[in-house]
Symmetry: none
Subunit: 410 residues, 2 copies
C-alpha cells in the first residue's frame, strides 16, 4: 500500500468578489479533484489551530505529521536542508540574499536578481577571524538566494535578521532574541560574518566585471530566518518504518521533507511557478512509486498567484493540479494506492497573504469510508466524513490507512 | 474591518417538554438570527470541552480567546475589575454581600436586598490591625453586592468563602484550599477582615437608622469567589494590536473584557434583566463602532430566565436579542463588518443551571465561507461549515477574518 499526498501551496482561499462569491477552487474546472472527493472521504483541516495562519515552513512540518508548536525552530535550516546541506541539530542556518548595498544603505536586496551561483567557488571557504571555532558554509542556491550554515558549540537560532526586508534603508545588526548567552554569542558571530562577507564580496573580481558591464554589484549578503533543524524525536520514515519521497521545487518544502527522512526528487519542467509542468511531476511520482510508501507531491504556483492577487492565474494552476491528479488516478494502481489532496494553508487573493481559515482535504483509496461530498472545495469539504481535523493529524491518518501505524496499548 | 460579537448569556438550552420538544431558541421568533445564519457560516462550540459546563467567568474568558484551563484564577478579580478597581496580578479579590446576621447565624444573605452604596464612604478606609501590611479596598457595587480587594505580598486566591451560600446556617471561616503557606496566610487575613467588617457594620449609624425603621440591618459582610486577575501573557488588544470595547452590564463580563484590554461602555436602559433595552445596546455599539475593531456585546437576561426555569421569558429575551441583531444588520456597514452570534454556555430551563452541551455559533460578513444552514439554533448549527470548535478558538477566527492574526512561521 502506498499514499501520494498532493499539496497545493496556498490553494485554499476565501470567496472572492471577482469570482462572484466563489473561491478559486470553486470557480476552477476540477473534474478530477471532484471525482476524487466524490469517491473519497473529505474534511476541513486547521493546519495549526482555527484562525492561526501558518507560514510555509510550519505548514509543511504539520503535514508531515509533526506538531509545529513543539518542533518548529525557524525556517533557515529547512532551506539549507532543502538545498542539500547536511544540517544537524545544534547548527544554525540562515536564508540569505546577494544584495547591492551603498555605504550602509540597501539599494537592491536582490542585486538585480543576480544569479549567485557565479560566487559558489569564491565563497566555498569563508572563515571568521574572531570566531575560528565556528565552521561556516555559504551556498548560493536559486537566483539571488543563498543559504548559510554555522556549525559549532553553544549556538542559538534566537537571533534577528541582518536583512531589513526592504530597499532604501540601512543594513541592520543581528540581535539576540532572548536573554541567553548563546543568543548573544550567535548574534556576535552573525555580525562578524556579515562584515566578513561584505569585505569578500567587495573584493570579488566578478563584481568588478559586473560594474564594468553596468550591472549592479552583489557587494553584500543579507541574512534572515535563523533556524535549527526541527526538534523531532526521529524522522517520520524511521518512526513508521517506511520509505518516503518528495517531488517539489520549493527549498523549504524539500527541507521539511528531508528532515522527515524523505528522498528528494526533481521533475523535468517543474519550476515552482505557474508555468510548471505538473504532468511531468505526476510522471516522476509514478516512476518512483514502486520504491516508496509515501510520496509528498507539492505544487507552488497557487501560492504565488495568491500573493500576486491574481485569482484567474490561481485558477489556472489549480486546473494544472487537477490534471496532475487525473494523470495519477489514471495511471497509478488504485487497488493499492491512496491519493490525498489538500493545501498547506489558505492564501487570500484579496489580502494577498496567508490566512487562518481551514483548508479542504480529500482522501481516496481502496478502504476509504467515503462520504456524500461530491466536489473538492473549501465549502463542500466542510460536509465531509473527516469532520474538522488538524494538520498534524493527516499524516497519521494516511499511515494508518497503509497499515503502518503502531498500536498504542495492547 | 470590524467585528461585533453578540453573546446571549446562557442562551443555548435543551429541548423542553413545555415547548413540545423545542429549545427556547428554536421556539422563539428569530428572523434576524436566522437570516444571519443563512448568509453566514455556522457551527457548534464547546466553551471548554464537550460535556463540561462553564461558569460565566470561565466562559467569557474563553470567548475572549483565552484558554480558561491555563488562565482562570477565580471570579473575584474579574468582578472587581468590572467594578472599576485596578486589580493587579498578585492582588486577591472577592465578591461579597451585605448580610443580616444574628450571633453567628445568617438570617438574610442579602439583608433585604439593601442598597449597599449607602456604606460606600463608611467603608472607604478599612484596615487590619494584625495585618497592617495588607491594603484593603471595599467597594459596594449593585444592590446588596460589594467587591473586596486585598493587596500585599504573598497572597493566594486559594482560600474558601466565608459565605455559607444559604440562610439559616452559620457564617463559615475561610480556609486555605491548598497546602501553601500563602493560602494559610491569606485565610487568616480573610478571617480577620471578616471580623473587622463585622465590628464596623455593627457600629454603623446607618444600621441603627435601619433598625429604627424596622428594616433588617446589614451587620455583616459575607465573602466568596476569591480570585486573582487571569494569568494571561498580555491583554488581547495588545497581542493583536487592536482596540476593543465591551457593551455589557454584568460585572464579571465587564471584568473579563477589561482584563482583555477592552474599554467598557454602558447603554441607557440596559439592565442585565429581561426588561433590558437591547436596541439601546445596539445603538451604543453603532455609535462607538468607528473607534474599535472588536466589540463584545453581551445580553444577560436569557441566563436569568433559564435559572428561573422560565422558557417563555427566555424566549422573549431571545426575541430582544434578535431585534438587536436586526438593528445592527440594518445599520452597520456590512461591507466592512463581521457579526458573530453565540452563547457563553447552555443554561437548561429544566435543570435551572448551566450544562455542558455545546452552543450554536454563526459568523456573517464580507468574506465568509457561507454554508447551507438556514436558521440559528442548537440543532441547525450542528450542520454548519465551522463544524465543532472550542470556545477559545472563536476569537482567533474572528481576528483572522479582520486580518489581525499573526503568521506562525514564515
Amino acid at each position: 500500500m502506498k499514499v501520494i499526498l498532493v499539496v497545493g501551496d496556498g490553494m485554499a482561499d476565501r470567496p472572492l468578489k471577482e469570482l462572484e462569491g466563489k473561491t478559486p477552487l470553486e470557480a476552477a474546472e476540477t473534474p478530477n479533484l471532484d471525482a476524487l472527493a466524490e469517491a473519497g472521504v473529505c474534511g476541513l483541516m486547521d493546519i495549526i489551530s482555527p484562525g492561526r495562519p501558518p507560514g510555509s515552513d510550519v505548514a509543511n512540518l504539520a503535514l508531515l505529521g509533526y506538531d509545529p508548536l513543539e518542533s518548529y525552530r525557524g525556517r533557515g535550516a529547512l532551506e539549507a536542508l532543502g538545498a542539500g546541506i547536511d544540517v544537524k541539530i545544534g547548527d544554525v542556518a540562515f536564508r540569505g540574499n546577494f544584495s547591492h548595498v551603498e555605504g550602509d544603505k540597501v539599494v537592491d536586496r536582490r542585486a538585480g536578481r543576480i544569479n549567485g551561483l557565479i560566487f559558489k567557488d569564491y565563497l566555498s571557504n569563508v572563515s571568521l577571524p574572531s570566531h575560528p571555532e565556528v565552521d561556516v558554509t555559504v551556498l548560493p542556491t536559486l537566483d539571488h538566494r543563498l543559504t548559510v550554515v554555522l556549525r559549532g558549540r553553544d549556538l542559538s537560532w534566537k537571533v534577528s535578521d541582518t536583512d531589513p526586508h526592504k530597499d532604501g534603508v540601512s543594513v541592520v545588526r543581528s540581535k539576540p532574541l532572548d536573554d541567553s548567552k548563546e543568543a548573544k554569542y550567535t548574534a556576535d558571530i552573525v555580525n562578524e560574518l556579515q562584515s566578513v562577507l561584505r569585505d569578500l564580496m567587495r573584493r570579488s573580481p566578478l563584481n568588478s566585471q559586473r560594474l564594468k558591464e553596468g550591472l549592479p554589484p552583489a557587494n553584500a549578503v543579507l541574512l534572515r530566518g535563523a533556524g535549527e533543524p526541527p526538534a523531532i524525536a526521529a524522522p517520520l520514515t524511521k518512526m513508521y518504518g517506511i520509505k518516503g519521497a518528495c517531488v517539489a521545487v520549493t527549498p523549504t518544502v524539500r527541507g521539511a521533507c528531508r528532515s522527515a527522512g524523505f528522498d528528494l526528487y526533481d521533475a523535468p519542467g517543474a519550476t515552482g511557478g505557474a508555468d510548471t509542468d505538473a504532468i511531468s511531476k505526476a510522471k516522476k511520482v509514478l516512476e518512483i512509486l514502486p520504491k516508496y510508501e509515501v510520496i509528498y507531491l507539492h505544487v507552488k504556483g497557487t501560492d504565488n498567484a495568491s500573493h500576486d492577487g491574481n485569482p484567474s492565474l490561481k485558477m489556472s494552476v489549480i486546473e494544472k493540479i487537477d490534471g496532475m491528479v487525473g494523470h495519477l488516478m489514471e495511471n497509478a494502481n488504485l487497488g493499492e494506492t491512496y491519493i490525498a489532496v489538500t493545501a498547506d494553508h489558505t492564501t487570500s487573493c484579496s489580502a494577498r497573504d496567508h490566512r487562518g481559515d481551514p483548508v479542504p482535504v480529500a482522501i481516496y483509496g481502496p478502504e476509504i469510508r467515503s462520504d456524500a461530498v461530491a466536489s473538492f472545495s473549501e465549502r463542500s469539504c466542510a460536509y465531509g466524513g473527516l469532520g474538522r481535523i488538524r494538520g498534524k493529524e493527516l499524516m497519521p491518518i494516511l499511515l494508518d490507512l497503509l497499515g503502518k501505524a503502531k498500536l498504542f496499548g495492547s
